[in-house]
């Protein structure tokens, strides 16, 4: 036949193999419910409303005295920082003798819709940091903020500089005008007042939508194809399911907090211009005079480096370091690269500036 399609038989074999893998998948992968994401031993040492403070048990005898408090983002949960033993941010720090506390923002409901920056920064964060200072008998703590947790940590350090020894900002959302991501593009065109007034909290479905359009073909197609291709690789499958469980756990954001975040950071760009007000006080980035480490990723498609880097130039700290890594938003905190490059530099920087 003249119009016969010539197909490599090996392609057909690949296709049949993939189909077999898809059929085998339910027997080889755990369901999301069977996965426990809180594996590194810890105690819940403080709780307030839906918020918990986790204190991780030390893994080595020699401890650095100044405790580190990690403020994770408000989007998704903190579990990515301890997603598996080989890529765990928390476990790596514990192995360096760092005393690690981590804030779990929990899952807000409608009752939390009126909570804003003031409640988070001057309420929850301040109470937590006071608790850690008392428990560890330290005058000050080191504070690390990731993503929107970086925004909260920046505001906290500007309003309570006397309680922060070192500030580490990992992909913080700072200068909304310079942010070139899809997230920023949508945020700038959003009627946030109508959204909050009508729905109360920022619904997780809408956030899930925003994430799904960031890399629609890589994340929506290729990722799952690779999963089925590697279905017989136990380690790959376990890691995949753990990350998927983390991705699917997207809590709502309290309405008033979301309103101020979108307006003050993305739409009116008040934070970087020292015009943001929290709890009736002006947030001046010049109040940040403690040592500052800013970490950004070149391939970050959620918070572009141009959005994070201005903090390095806006503070009055004399001791400040800017690190730019060739990775992505999540790659910076949960990858082999992060373990080999980001964390050793982080630990060294922190150890040099902490009380032994």
């Amino acid at each position: 036949m003249a119009n016969e399609i010539k197909l490599d038989p090996r392609l057909l074999a690949e296709f049949i193999k993939l189909n077999k893998n898809i059929l085998d998948a339910p027997n080889l992968a755990q369901s999301l419910e069977e996965i426990d994401l809180e594996v590194t031993p810890h105690e819940v040492v403080y709780s307030e409303g839906k918020i918990r403070l986790l204190h991780f048990n030390p893994l080595v005898a020699k401890q650095i005295k100044t405790p580190l408090v990690i403020a994770y983002a408000l989007v998704n949960r903190f579990h990515i920082l301890d997603i598996n033993q080989k890529k765990s941010w928390v476990r790596n720090l514990l192995n360096q003798g760092i005393d690690v506390y981590l804030i779990d923002w929990g899952t807000p409901t409608q009752i939390n819709r009126h909570e804003g920056f003031d409640d988070y920064v001057n309420g929850y964060m301040d109470n937590i940091i006071d608790f850690v200072r008392k428990e560890s008998s330290s005058q000050k703590v080191s504070l690390q903020g990731y993503c929107t947790g970086g925004t909260l940590s920046t505001v906290y350090s500007a309003l309570h500089p006397d309680k922060v020894q070192n500030l580490i900002l990992t992909a913080p959302v700072i200068d909304g005008r310079r942010d070139s991501t899809v997230v920023s593009n949508l945020a700038k065109h959003m009627d946030v007042d109508k959204l909050v007034d009508t729905l109360g909290n920022m619904p997780p479905e809408l956030m899930y939508y925003v994430f799904s359009i960031l890399k629609p073909f890589e994340q929506g197609f290729e990722k799952y194809l690779n999963f089925f291709k590697n279905i017989h690789d136990k380690e790959y499958v376990e890691n995949f399911i753990r990350v998927e469980k983390w991705v699917s756990d997207t809590p709502p954001i309290p309405g008033e907090l979301y309103r101020q975040w979108i307006k003050d950071v993305y739409q009116e760009n008040l934070l970087i211009n020292n015009n943001m007000y929290v709890g009736g006080k002006q947030v001046s980035l010049k109040n940040i005079a403690m040592p500052l480490l800013t970490q950004v990723a070149v391939g970050d498609h959620l918070v572009s480096p141009e959005c994070s880097m201005p903090i390095h130039y806006a503070v009055s700290s004399q001791d400040k370091t800017l690190k730019i890594y060739p990775t992505g938003h999540v790659g910076m905190i949960a990858s082999s690269f992060s373990q080999k490059k980001v964390l050793p530099e982080f630990s060294q920087w922190l150890t040099e500036r902490s009380e032994k």
Binding site: L195, G200, L206
Partner: protein, 188 residues
């Protein structure tokens, strides 16, 4: 992107007619309703007009929502077609064997990813998406109002009332926290 004047006129006419007849029927049947309805149903009989008003207004917002949704799908379809055209141009250059299958897939993903990222980065997309969400929120508002009418009829707290409670609770919590701080410092 607003509605054409003739569509607006016919919607206004429809709304006027519906409300006129709802009002008139309500007035005509009011006495019989009063006799027949007792307890929670009495309240429902009085509030039922709100449901038809909200339904009519929701229909108007549905028109705006559908316009925005159509524009949204048009943007996606146009982008898909453009990406497909470029991929089709590339296909003859790609070898059709298993060794190059991975590379072919990569080309496909890269082309589509680039086209769609450009779309999602554009002001046109963000503007339409923002308005699409706003029109959905308008529909949600009517839905909330209708739910409130039903809750009120059943003597149950409405969303607005619950929100007032949450607000009060939030403000009380703040006051207590402030007072606790003052007390812990031994101040006045």
């Amino acid at each position: 992107m607003s509605l054409p004047q003739d569509v607006k006129n016919s919607l206004a006419n429809y709304k006027h007619n519906s409300l006129f007849w709802t009002d008139l029927l309500y007035l005509m049947s009011n006495r019989q309703q009063s006799l027949a309805a007792t307890g929670p149903f009495r309240k429902f009989a009085i509030n039922v007009k709100n449901l038809s008003t909200e339904t009519i207004e929701m229909n108007e917002d549905m028109t705006e929502f559908n316009t925005r949704l159509s524009a949204y799908y048009k943007q996606l379809t146009d982008t898909w077609n453009e990406a497909q055209k470029e991929y089709s141009r590339k296909v003859p250059e790609l070898p059709n064997d298993s060794e190059h299958m991975e590379a072919s897939k990569r080309v496909w993903i890269d082309i589509y990813e680039n086209y769609f990222t450009r779309l999602f980065d554009s002001a046109d997309f963000a503007e339409n998406f923002g308005k699409l969400v706003t029109s959905e929120l308008e529909i949600a508002k009517h839905w909330n109002n209708m739910a409130s009418t039903l809750l009120e009829s059943a003597n149950m707290p409405t969303k607005k009332e619950m929100d007032e409670v949450y607000k009060e609770l939030h403000s009380l919590r703040k006051r207590v926290a402030k007072l606790e701080k003052i007390a812990n410092k031994g101040g006045t």
